[in-house]
Symmetry: C2
DNA sequence: CGCGCCAACTGAACCGGATCAGTTTTCGGC
DNA sequence: GCCGAAAACTGATCCGGTTCAGTTGGCGCG
């Protein structure tokens, strides 16, 4: 029972050669249908699974995709985004018996070293590149290695690598027009890390809409941590003419923002409207519940994995834009009370 | 450049046989020190990394550990525990070039199937068993497969598999005595999933302390979701004589609890003290900040990985109890105001 | 009837390491 | 200067699959 079954065992029992069994198991021509059925039945009975190492050594595939996360464990842990993305990816990978290799590293240098090692070790068939930056130094490395990769983010700045993204700029317009319709005139944005493409895309869209509609908009960059989110909020609310609405680039900072407002005696949403980018239970459980940009992250992950699989099959994979996110309105946004405008 | 370097390449360039190169690279006797240095230098120059498949096929190791998470993506995403644990594990695994295979599944049946498949495919050298249950059906499977495993949790109910745990019962005493010292008499516990060992251990400790000190304690089980946390809180606070303190089994439910209190006009901590099991930024960013049981999860993960590595080296690995957690007191707990007791 | 062709199958090589049984070299001791 | 043992190294084999060049057998067809 504790003995692993190999195709040689099946071959012996079926009175066939290893080669024939291999053809039968892989749906290759070269064996009769009746033999194939017999072999398949035996394999099932004997509990055979292909040794992944042997498969990887002879065939082309390692049967695994890699994901490197270059963020602090603290940020990672509290942001639902990553786990949702991962489980989305896996739902697509499960069908093809592809595993996910996860590595949490400190910075991009270690991340690049990981890609090189994985490539040399033939450990993965492809990788997902996450947290795309403007002029990302990881892109040319993956191109040089010819390591199949799907970029989480875009459009642009991912060279020849295919990307999957969500139209952040488009939602930004919806968000800002919504806030403007509520009569907000001074709107602040507590953004994520400067240099990350999605941060820059949102910032540019934010500024364009502000200019177009004639709003007074400010963007402040942070490292996504609730600490910085709280600090920035304090500073914003302490200004002579504080904003009447703040848009946060993730849910955790938005929750921290609500907390600061409480602490400073600022009424939400009466004096201050708060919005979160990315919806999660977090947004629902705070009081007031947060209006949020809700993206289908599970689907995002699924598309990424499906396309990486297609890429390995030699199909031409083009960039893909996910369906646009929805604006989920909850209690944290409202028309500002007379005195505050 | 895009050609992968093998030991045959090194052998050819060094004028040696494959065998000699293998000995040199692995620190085995059989080659002179000067040759070894020369080979090592060449390997470095040529950017050689062992093909993980070939290594796994000939040697014993697959060079990977597996972790299966059988929880809903929603719960996983928002609980910082898992990501912290994972990055702790990896910090110990990085030194030995061991990768982490992550799989998110729906239930224990799929989880067990995953273990069997991994074992048959020789994909992993060992696994971490998480969310241990009383009389866990996964334990006998791993024992039968002789798949090296470290159990996250205990003590007890993990058969012959070594476990690493945190003394929840001990902290429960500290927590309850702290609340009792604040003059709380009616204390509720919003627990996690019934049947999970750590839930049961805490529940038992909770009841024992209540009986000993003479407190009025109630435990309600949930599925860890903020939804249920909120619902249970609403019910508890609607009782004729509501509790003056609630201890939640995770941070997310505690945050939801604060929200419900707000919504019902119950003052925290004046009328109701709230505590979270497991500390995270979440506890710090809500208002009031949550008093919490802070466990060193990173260290937890590190210990688990170190011990699994030791297990593979044939060392005798015994159970291990992590250092006791600390009680981090913040603004959400206080002596209840006169009227409420 | 015999030729050719194709389906069905075999045997061996191969992937890139580890490892072991031999073979050659080195070197110390007498 | 020669012997014997240890050190240094070679060549072959193995791990468990895939794949390809052959081999066999059966059948249709002229």
């Amino acid at each position: 029972m504790t003995k692993r079954v190999t195709i040689a065992d099946i071959a012996a029992r079926a009175g066939l050669s290893k080669g024939a069994v291999s053809y039968a198991l892989n749906g290759q021509p070269g064996v009769s249908e009746s033999t194939r059925q017999r072999v398949l039945r035996m394999a099932l009975e004997m509990g055979w699974h292909p040794n992944s190492a042997a498969k990887a050594l002879s065939g082309a595939r390692a049967g695994a995709f890699g994901l490197v996360l270059a963020r602090s464990p603290a940020t990672l842990g509290v942001e639902p985004f990553f786990m949702k993305l991962i489980s989305g990816m896996e739902s697509a990978m499960a069908a093809t018996q592809t595993a996910l290799l996860l590595q949490v590293v400190a910075d991009h240098d270690v991340e690049i070293a990981t890609y090189r090692r994985w490539w040399a070790e033939r450990r993965v068939d492809g990788v997902f590149l996450i947290d795309l930056r403007c002029d990302d130094c990881r892109v040319p490395v993956l191109e040089e290695l010819k390591l199949p990769a799907m970029v989480v983010g875009g459009p642009g700045h991912h060279g020849t690598l295919p990307g999957v993204w969500i139209d952040d700029a488009g939602v930004m317009v919806v968000v800002m027009e919504y806030l403007a319709a509520l009569r907000h005139r001074r709107i602040a944005r507590v953004a994520g890390v400067a240099g990350m493409l999605h941060t820059e895309v949102r910032t540019r869209a934010f500024e364009e809409v502000c200019a177009r509609i004639g709003l007074d908009g400010t963007t402040v960059n942070t490292d996504y941590s609730p600490d910085q989110g709280a600090q920035v909020t304090r500073r914003l609310l302490s200004a002579a003419t504080p904003p009447t609405a703040i848009v946060y680039d993730n849910d955790v900072m938005a929750v921290a923002g609500v907390s600061v407002a409480h602490e400073m005696g600022v009424d939400v949403p009466g004096e201050l409207s708060i919005m979160a980018w990315d919806d999660s239970v977090l947004c629902e459980i705070v009081h007031p519940a947060l209006t949020a940009v809700s993206r289908d992250i599970d689907g995002y992950g699924r598309h990424l994995a499906e396309r990486l699989l297609a890429l390995l099959d030699g199909q031409a994979v083009t960039d893909y834009e996910n369906p646009p996110p929805r604006l989920v309105v909850r209690g944290s946004t409202a028309r500002p009370t007379a005195g505050t405008v």
